[in-house]
């Protein structure tokens, strides 16, 4: 089955090691006949779901896992079929993938690159996973994407928002459905300009690591193009739990907007701290002081509680969308788990479906065939309007949601409201855009 990256010489050497080191058993099946890594031979195919199950993002990972399990159920013909009924491609028939029953294994990324690669490797090497799906941070996504490229399996990224995932670090075997920092900026800037005016001074607090930098760069560029001025950009340590010393000087800097380029626990804390300082009650330069959180998630909004009220940010998808695809997904997810799905759950669900569909259309599980089927694939009915998986960088292009914290949430899931659905055309960019430059897709690797 699995022999990753086997060169001819490697085979010979391995044979020598095996021959010299141990007495060979009488029954010897050299399984180098497989055409690609983990080619399914029986009546089933195994998918690998790699999500954070421990650590601060464990709840987000749980939600991703729920969506992935739901997708498997739908693929195997269980449940109400969810988005399979609204998906523009009709290749999936509810009988598994290519007639094989879909099974899955799970791993814990711990939101650490090393652990994520270890769990992905174990799913590939031990459990025979043919693809890896999931994750909730860019560092992990890029690390696992590189691994899947080397191992010769397809990687369907979960929540990863850094420009680098499909920019500097893009890989031929890796695909991203989620949106990115550039798209957040492009979608947010016009809305911000119309909501808060074009003459604004923004103060950025940015998580001091790659994702934070790329998002800050994107937001600053997009808002500056609208006429905003960036007063300052302060980098904050990842390990910070208390942001008061970074927030205290903001009011006195002449800024009238605070942009928090933070995610997860960092964002919950920095937003909570900013509200404690009463920033949104202040008037600076004759204008109401505003706070922007470029990347929102439902769990972060829940963690920050009433502090998100009136704060604008962007999202990949939201359960309140009223298109048929979203309604179908929310219904089957909600009935199974009693709660609406998060946007990372949506991405993981859609990625699983897209992968299965690509296998059906390609007629093979061979990663190169699957990749070819995904490249340039246009589809609809998956909740984001007409969507394109661009061949140049394996990035999905679709509508982006601009969200606002709701003033009177009716329940714990109803924390955000959709302010605007920014059309796809507005967030598109050329594959060689400078923020995405420097990468090389390479060629697909089938193992």
């Amino acid at each position: 089955m699995s022999k990753t990256n086997m060169t001819r010489r490697g085979v010979l050497k391995t044979g020598a090691v095996a021959g010299a080191g141990v007495a060979l058993p009488t029954i010897f099946t050299a399984s180098s006949a497989a055409a690609y890594t983990n080619e399914p031979t029986g009546g089933s195919v195994t998918l690998g779901f790699n999500v954070p199950q421990t650590g601060p993002y464990a709840d987000e990972g749980m939600d991703e896992l729920r969506a992935q399990e739901l997708a498997v159920e739908h693929l195997n013909g269980g449940g109400d079929g969810g988005m399979m009924n609204t998906f523009s491609s009709k290749a999936l028939k509810g009988n598994g993938i290519l007639g094989k029953k879909v099974e899955f294994v799970t791993g814990d990324t711990q939101t650490k690159s090393d652990a994520a690669r270890a769990s992905a490797k174990s799913m590939i090497e031990k459990d025979g996973a043919i693809m890896i799906n999931g994750g909730s941070s860019s560092g992990v996504a890029i690390a696992v994407q590189g691994l899947c490229q080397d191992a010769g399996v397809i990687f369907m990224a979960g929540l990863t928002h850094s420009n680098d995932t499909t920019g500097k670090d893009k890989k031929a075997n890796g695909f991203r459905h989620f949106f990115n920092g550039y798209m957040s900026g492009a979608a947010l800037a016009p809305v911000l300009a119309s909501a808060y005016g074009k003459d604004r001074n923004a103060y950025h607090l940015t998580a001091d690591y790659t994702w934070g930098w790329t998002q800050q760069e994107s937001i600053a560029a997009a808002t500056e193009a609208m006429g905003w001025n960036t007063v300052n950009n302060v980098l904050t340590p990842l390990a910070s739990t208390d942001f008061s010393s970074y927030i205290a000087p903001v009011l006195n800097s002449g800024a009238d907007v605070l942009v928090l380029n933070h995610y997860g626990g960092n964002m919950v804390n920095s937003l909570t701290n900013a509200i404690q300082f009463g920033l949104r009650d202040k008037v600076v330069n004759g204008k109401n002081f505003e706070i922007v959180v470029p990347l929102y998630s439902e769990l972060m909004a829940a963690g920050a509680g009433e502090n998100v009220q009136g704060v604008i940010g962007s999202m990949n998808w939201n359960w309140q969308l009223q298109d048929e695809g979203s309604k179908a997904f929310v219904k089957s997810f909600g009935e199974k788990y009693g709660r609406p799905p998060s946007n990372s759950a949506h991405t993981c669900y859609v990625q699983t479906m897209l992968y299965a569909d690509a296998c059906e259309r390609a007629g093979t599980f061979n990663p190169c065939g699957v990749a070819e089927a995904l490249e340039g694939f246009e589809f609809d009915g998956m909740g984001n309007g007409p969507t394109l998986y661009r061949a140049d960088d394996h990035q999905c292009f679709k509508d982006v949601l601009v969200m606002k914290g709701k003033d009177n949430p009716s329940n714990e899931y109803d924390t955000l409201e959709i302010l605007e659905v920014t059309p796809r055309a507005q967030v598109e960019y050329a594959p060689d855009h400078p923020m995405f430059a420097g990468g090389d897709l390479g060629s697909c690797n089938a193992g």
Binding site: K3, T7, T106, S113, D114, E125, D150, D208, L238, D440
Partner: protein, 395 residues
């Protein structure tokens, strides 16, 4: 033989046999059986057993012998990894350049940190090493991104120089063409065994450094280190300067950590900053104490124990549980799954925490003491004699 006495030689031979036959031993269950979940004989985990075994052996040379508890050894692991990946980027994928460099750079790093930290002892020493390692981690994650590639982790890009890269050279780590991640699979009946180049490479190095650690344990230097742990006052009033001894032990164990870090990057060409975090330092402390500090085999056992939990228990999910207990009546099946659920999959931390508490409460000498007690029990029933089990100082 090899400068070892009979007992040590036996131990070394046993370890060598176990290491070489790990692909069999760790895969005791047929591939399609429900118990296959517990098989650990796949390349990545076997490599980790060997690599973290090396890390823990090295840590034990410092902590087990001198009693100096370092909370910063992960920094050396990280430095080793970065060295190897940089050699991939600059020269080529042959690990022969990176590994010696990893040992050297981590040795220099350890010398600098050790020189300062060794000025204090006890918990003050621990906090100093912790401070240095956390500084390294925080900077590697942020300000030093040009060198470490920060959050993403250092990796090889297509536009890297790779000046020695040959036309037909493998595009993943190898030793003169012996590609680390290639494996041969052998099926025997219902079983399937994987023989991986990378694992045997790590395994052989692990045996070598294990042998080296036996030699250090039995050397006058090793005795001096134990003497330092035992009584620093007598040491000084016997005309011996403890500091160069402890510093040498610190540097040697730092080099072991650097080698382990280098091997991590040799198996998987990516170096993430997280491997320098204090939790990673804490992990090796736990491995050593759990297995039995100051013993030869303890740290290796502890490393295997923790890595097994991390990689095997975390992957058991409810679906797997339902499969196992499918034979039970429905209601009972759900109840059993409900009972076990908190301890597996996402709850593997909980199980590990409970095991730490149990082991350290009831087996102060770690897993090795557990083994000795069982051996003593067997012996006692055999000889039918009531001699109390004698604890060996360094075994």
């Amino acid at each position: 033989m090899l400068g070892l006495n009979k007992k040590d030689m036996t131990l070394l031979i046993v370890v060598t046999i176990l290491t070489l036959s790990a692909p069999f031993i760790l895969n005791p269950f047929p591939t399609d059986s429900a118990m296959a979940q517990f098989n650990a004989g796949y390349p990545d985990l076997m490599q980790r057993f060997a690599i973290f075994g090396i890390f823990a052996i090295g840590f034990n040379l410092l902590f087990g012998l001198t009693g100096y508890l370092s909370f910063g050894h992960a920094a050396f692991l990280g430095v080793g990894s970065y060295s190897v990946v940089w050699m991939y980027k600059l020269l080529d994928y042959n690990v022969i350049w990176g590994l010696p460099l990893a040992i050297v750079t981590s040795g220099i790093f350890a010398l600098l940190i050790g020189f300062v930290s060794m000025r204090r002892s006890g918990i003050y020493f621990s906090i100093l090493t912790l401070a240095f390692a956390q500084m390294s981690f925080n900077l590697a994650y942020s300000v030093l991104t040009p060198i470490t590639n920060g959050e993403t982790g250092l990796q090889v890009y297509n536009n890297d120089p790779q000046v020695l890269m040959g036309a037909n050279e493998a595009s993943s780590p190898h030793l003169f063409g012996l590609v680390m991640n290639s494996s041969a699979k052998v099926g025997v009946g219902a079983w399937e065994f994987t023989f991986n180049n990378g694992y045997y490479f790590c395994g052989v190095i692990a045996i070598l450094v294990f042998y080296l650690s036996i030699r250090i344990f039995r050397s006058p230097f090793g005795m001096m280190l134990r003497a330092i742990k035992s009584n620093q006052t007598r040491m000084a009033y016997t005309g011996l300067n403890p500091r160069p001894y402890t510093l040498a032990a610190f540097v040697i164990s730092g080099m072991y950590a650097g080698l382990a870090g280098g091997l991590l990057a040799s198996m998987d060409p990516l170096a993430g900053a997280e491997r320098m975090q204090w939790t990673a330092s804490g992990e090796v402390v736990l491995m050593t104490i759990l297995g039995g500090a100051g013993t030869l085999m303890g740290p290796v056992l502890g490393a295997g124990f923790i890595k097994y939990f991390e990689n095997i228990f975390s992957k058991i999910n409810d679906t797997v549980l339902h499969n196992w207990f499918a034979f039970l009546p429905d209601g009972l099946e759900d109840f059993v799954v409900f009972l076990i659920h908190p301890f597996i999959g996402k709850g593997w931390h909980l199980t590990l925490g409970i095991l730490f508490m149990l082991v350290v409460t009831f087996l102060p000498g770690g897993l090795v003491e557990g083994g000795q007690r069982i051996a003593a029990m067997i012996k006692r029933t055999k000889e039918d004699e009531d001699t109390p089990a004698k604890t060996e100082p360094a075994e």
